[in-house]
């Protein structure tokens, strides 16, 4: 089993509980061993950068430094915001020796040093690139046949990571959904923003963004929206009620983490992937 330095991030310890358990269950099933970093700290999401840029990179670097100490090669984050922060910080550590020197001066206080040598990855990349579609297909016990899934990429898993993927029309999520037997639907908003922390700082704007996304997925006859980030998941799932109140809609589309859908296809028992209530709403959504 290949080992990975695993950075769960704060959201997985609170609102993203179903993501936490399903990520671990599916990883176990696919031979991906996630070793949680010791004593990691918050990555800052989008809230450090408005205060101090160097501080933001330093706090992210502490996690990278802890990961480097493990001797493992990959730093894996399941949250798109954690992923983006770790990915860009790691890149800057390598390309900007001056920045790295400032950061390392601060890290001395925790007996840490950082080089920027981790390979920073989102959990979905590990499944796709290291395990591979073929291997996943082989392990599927219950193909999600006929399930129309709207793959929701959100932002920070594809942007600003310009060098790697087609940022306008990525396809890897669709391919993963096909590998577990589901039917990925095409819809224009798949990489439009869910509003992120605007749900707190500018509720009106965020609800409008969520509303457009939900409408687009529903218009495309999706049975369920699949997410790769706890923030997206919360905005699309928990705030559906408020969207309905504001816009007079009657959305009740289930929102699930990609790991939960994978878990269902792999035949992992529902409680280990946090699908109980979601299963019920999924059934209702398919009946419609």
């Amino acid at each position: 089993m290949k080992q990975y330095a695993y950075y769960p991030g704060c959201s997985l310890e609170s609102l993203g509980k179903n993501y936490r358990i399903s990520a671990l269950a599916v990883s176990g099933e696919l031979g991906v061993e996630l070793k949680e970093l010791e004593d990691w700290n918050c990555c800052g999401a989008t809230a450090y950068f408005p205060v101090d840029e160097l501080l933001a990179y330093t706090l992210v670097s502490r996690n990278l430094a802890i990961a480097e100490k493990t001797g493992l090669q990959d730093f894996v984050a399941p949250c798109s915001a954690c992923y983006k922060n770790a990915y860009t910080t790691n890149k800057y550590l390598k390309s900007d020796p001056d920045l790295a020197e400032h950061i390392n001066y601060a890290l001395e206080e925790d007996n840490l040093q950082v080089e920027g040598k981790m390979k920073v990855r989102h959990l979905i990349e590990v499944f796709i690139e290291d395990v591979g579609f073929e291997e996943i297909k082989k392990k599927v016990a219950y193909p999600l046949k006929g399930l129309r899934v709207a793959p929701y990429y959100g932002c920070q898993i594809v942007r600003p990571r310009k060098d790697k993927e087609d940022v306008e029309n990525p396809q890897f999520f669709e391919k993963l959904l096909s590998a577990i037997g589901a039917e990925p639907i095409e819809y224009a908003s798949k990489a439009r923003c869910c509003g992120g922390s605007l749900i707190i700082t500018n509720r009106k704007a965020a609800l409008d963004m969520v509303h457009k996304l939900l409408q687009d997925a529903v218009n495309s006859n999706a049975n369920v929206i699949a997410t790769t980030c706890p923030m997206c998941n919360v905005n699309l799932e928990v705030y559906q009620g408020q969207v309905n109140q504001e816009f007079g809609t009657d959305f009740s589309i289930p929102v699930m983490y990609f790991t939960q859908l994978m878990g269902m296809a792999l035949g992992i028992e529902p409680k280990r992937i946090g699908v109980g209530a979601s299963m019920l709403s999924l059934a209702q959504s398919i009946e419609k």
Partner: protein, 187 residues
């Protein structure tokens, strides 16, 4: 006497690690504004703000809600034909406005960011209920009730824990932070 820095240079100077092109390379094409999912909630579109920076309209830029309405989705950054990292520029403008202590009245963003950083300095981890105290006072009564009901539901369904977690080597983290920015006494 040293020449006064242009506003666009001032902003570029606080985009420390950004690898984007200088703001003055903007050709005012409007791709950023057309790509922005939050533009209709902004006082000025991203294109306008860049134009305002170029024209040294400092007070006007400090008074706009534009950068506090940016969700950091990077759609503008990846599409900008001039190669400017506009989302990063929005962060720089947030820092500039925090640093000047000057921003449009009624915004939640500045308080939220400040509270977030304080929370990390005090515990090392983020935890939603602590943050609620920073924005709830600015919500309407209806929204506070709505928020309360939702939070109760999340706690009851086991999705929201009642106690935050902390980093173990918190003292070290706090000393680390002090090497970057001066912070006062921590709890």
């Amino acid at each position: 006497m040293a020449a006064e820095l242009s506003f666009s240079k001032e902003i570029e100077n606080i985009m420390y690690a950004s690898h984007g092109k200088p703001i003055k390379d903007c050709i005012q094409c409007g791709t950023c504004s057309g790509s922005c999912p939050a533009v209709e909630f902004m006082d000025n579109s991203p294109r306008e703000v860049i134009g305002m920076i170029g024209a040294n309209l400092k007070e006007e830029v400090l008074a706009t809600n534009t950068y506090w309405t940016c969700a950091s989705c990077y759609q503008c950054s990846v599409r900008c034909p001039a190669g400017i990292d506009i989302a990063d520029m929005m962060y720089a403008l947030k820092r500039y406005s925090m640093w000047k202590g000057q921003y449009k009245e009624g915004l939640i963003g500045p308080d939220f960011s400040e509270a977030f950083v304080k929370m990390i300095v005090n515990s090392g981890r983020s935890f939603e209920p602590i943050l609620a105290a920073t924005y709830l006072p600015k919500y309407s009564a209806r929204d506070i009730i709505r928020e309360g009901l939702m939070a109760t539901g999340l706690v009851l369904s086991g999705k929201m824990p009642l106690l935050p977690k902390k980093v173990k080597r918190l003292k070290n983290v706090q000393r680390m932070v002090r090497r970057i920015i001066p912070i006062g006494e921590t709890k």
